[in-house]
Amino acid sequence: MAIKILNLIIVLFVPFLMLGIIKKTKAFWGGRYGAPVLQPLYDFVKLMKKDFVISKTTSGIFRITPVIVIASALFAALFVPLASSSAIINIPAGFIIFAYILGLSKFFSLIGAMDTGSSFEGMGASREACFTTIVEPAFFMLLASIMALSGNYTFDALSKIIENSGNYGILICIFALIALFIMILTEGSRVPVDDPATHLELTMIHEVMILDNSAADLALITWASGIKMLLLSSLIAAIVIPQGLPQWIAVLAYLALMFIISVIIGTIESATARIRMSHVFEFIFVMSSFALVVLALVVARMFGG
């Protein structure tokens, strides 16, 4: 029970830390001191206190979007194994619920953006929708393959890849990790797919969709995208952190892994340029192809003798 409560606390607070660490890493590589690691949390508190500015062209959809986005992020968190435990709601095929709850949040953020009537936000929504159509099938293919391997259709299968797949285990792990990492970059709107730091509306994807959101709405959406990043990182943790560790060591390992992932994201953002918009698909297709490789390996393992 205690560990489940700890997990809830992690879901609520670690996303801010991850965002803060990414920014700190970028500042480090840029030769700056940077803002405090807790700055995203301070910003959250500041935004919560502000007054709303709401465009007259918007309808109720725009108003409920932030609430749906944060609610679905928190709800999705219940289905994902976090630090040293199974998911809080650990049911077979939970990953399908997980994916579609996030899909719901995506759907509302798309129509919420289009609701503003701004040509920028429509453009951002169309880009986001495009990328999602590639990411989603790849995600299903990846997880379904891994789960088919162990015959266990809960997220617990992720931690049992090695024991279920013998010689292929390491390969499956590596390909699955890279595919998931690309998914984090895409869904978290990070470089090289998107640039969270830019002020240029024409180049934005995720940021441009929330241009009209202010105050608590903006705070909730930012928080939700942090949570989403944490949840996807947790899938990586489920694969990497071995089972059967003492609980507190597993929790520490989990937190350390979140730290490492944030630093890696920050470093990538510092050292590479963003991909040209028309080539982003090719980058995301890398995820699809890696998911296919995992599927092929699983097929080989199950039927190939």
Binding site: K26, W29, G30, G31, R32, S119, F120, G122, M123, R127, V191, P192, D195, A197, T198, H199, L200, E201, L202, T203, E269, S270, A271, T272, A273, R274, I275, R276, M277, S278, H279
Partner: protein
């Protein structure tokens, strides 16, 4: 004689300028077929207007001047743009300022004025959409409206509507001709505009400037070029989300402008140049410090650019983005850095060199540009390195000799009934200042041409068939001035 031939920084008597009728002038312009640097009107008594045309022969460093008088009832003429497209902005400006219509002009839209409605081109189709950006932008940028006609992510056409910064500088210059005003024409070309203004005034006043002052001016111009180029290299890196480049170039640019701060008390060189010379001399202690700083800047820029050019993710963004072909560049009359990046060999530092620049005997490096963002990036790098080395060389010359007064305070009144033209190569391209005086030796017309005036249309051509998300990158690679265009 249908033309009078003159040189850069030379005074001519207004009476010597031929006055033709418009049809002859039109034929003459087409026959001569040189690059326009001035095409402006002036009230000429009783409601008539005199049109002055100045063409540049870059190969021989000659300027051709002619004119034509429109009577009060003459309200139109056959436009030159039909034959020579590079006249298109000049004719639009002339029409806007004096109401004399260039007939059959293909693009007779307002240039600066917002009194008339600006009619954008429209495209129709199921997947076609328009994106309107500005006039207020994110970040600290000047106002300007951009209208994209897109099909999905591809830009078919961009129209740029400016004029939000129109302050009536040309009129102000006639009323209050001061260095301070000249410096404020365009905030990132302080030295270039102030230098052009000072040279025009020195021409009209017959003021001699000491060699030391001329050297300091040339050095300041090169430092401005280096500083802005480095800043823009950083901005290009920032636009493609290459953080390291943005940070390093940002820091090195500061070193250059802080050196300027030591020289003149302003990071952008405000207050440095004055009619008759410069306001501040540079002592040897400052020279040594500056030389050290500039050497460090040279090293840092060199290293960072080389790192960037080796990074494949950077190169894939820069190469083949925002291409303007050489033919297009010549046709629409691009000038300066943007033209050189397209392979047009145009540099008024060499084409219209003043005696100080000539005495440095610098080799002219040619740049084989392809007209894309990558070419502009590399050209800016090459020019930065050149400018830094010129600045260092001049600092060395100042240390060892030329111990003279830097400001000539003995100044005559303006010459009456004259015209002077001064062309200075700012970092963006040629800055042209033209001053006319009346019979009473007062300024009667002041004409300014910033390189942005020619080049905005180049940006519109550059983004065609590019992704709409590449527009900011193309824009930064040109980095044109809004207020320089709007005046």
């Amino acid at each position: 004689m249908n033309w009078i031939k003159t040189k850069n920084n030379t005074k001519i008597n207004l009476n010597e300028i031929p006055s033709l009728d418009i049809d002859t002038l039109r034929d003459e312009i087409i026959k001569l077929n040189k690059r326009p640097v001035g095409f402006f009107g002036k009230e000429w008594g009783e409601g008539s207007t005199r049109l002055f045309v100045i063409l540049a022969d870059d190969e021989n460093s000659d300027l051709y001047v002619s004119s034509c008088i429109f009577d009060a009832d003459e309200k139109g003429y056959e436009s030159l743009t039909q034959t020579i497209p590079s006249f298109h902005v000049f004719e639009r400006e002339f029409y806007e300022q004096f109401g004399i219509k260039p007939l059959n002009h293909p693009w007779l839209k307002p240039l600066r004025s917002h009194k008339k409605e600006y009619k954008f081109f429209e495209m129709e189709g199921e997947e076609v959409h328009q994106v309107a950006v500005g006039p207020i932008h994110a970040g600290v940028i000047e106002p300007g409206h951009f209208r994209f006609m897109c099909n999905g992510e591809t830009v078919y056409h961009l129209e740029i509507m400016l004029g939000y910064q129109n302050r009536g500088v040309e009129k102000l210059m006639v009323e209050y001709p001061t260095n301070q005003l000249a410096e404020s024409i365009c905030g990132d070309s302080v030295i270039a505009h102030n230098l052009a203004y000072s040279k025009v005034m020195e021409c009209l006043k017959d003021v001699k400037v000491s060699k030391r002052a001329q050297l300091i001016r040339t050095m300041a111009l090169e430092m401005e070029r280096a500083a802005i180029h480095i800043g823009d290299l950083g901005a290009i890196a920032g636009d493609i989300a290459y953080l390291m480049g943005a940070s390093v170039f940002g820091a090195t640019r500061t070193l250059v402008i802080n050196t300027m701060l030591e020289f003149s008390g302003s990071r952008f060189g405000r207050g440095l140049i004055n009619v008759g010379g410069v306001n501040f001399d540079i002592d040897n202690e400052k020279i040594e410090r500056a030389t050290k700083t500039l050497t460090k800047v040279e090293k840092d820029v060199d290293r960072m650019v080389k790192t960037m050019l080796k990074n494949s993710s950077v190169m894939s963004r820069l190469e083949k983005t925002g291409t303007v072909s050489t033919e297009k560049a010549l046709e629409i009359g691009l000038v300066g850095m943007a033209a050189r990046a397209c392979g047009v060999n145009l540099d008024s530092r060499f084409d219209f060199a003043d005696e100080c620049f000539k005495s440095l005997a610098l080799p002219r490096k040619l740049f084989k540009g392809k007209g894309d963002v990558n070419s502009r990036f590399k050209l800016r790098y090459q020019e930065t390195m050149e400018s830094l080395s010129i600045a260092k060389r001049i600092l060395d010359m100042l240390k060892n000799g030329y111990k003279e007064e830097v400001l000539n305070t003995e100044q005559n009144a303006l010459s009456a009934n004259s015209m002077a033209i001064s062309i200075v190569e700012g970092w963006r391209g040629e800055v042209v200042h033209i001053a006319l005086t009346d019979m009473n030796a007062n300024l009667s017309r002041y004409k300014i041409k910033d390189p942005s005036f020619n080049n905005w249309y180049g940006l519109a051509l550059a983004v065609r068939n590019n992704g709409v998300s590449d527009f900011p990158l193309c824009n930064k690679s040109f980095n044109l001035s809004y207020c320089g265009n709007d005046l």
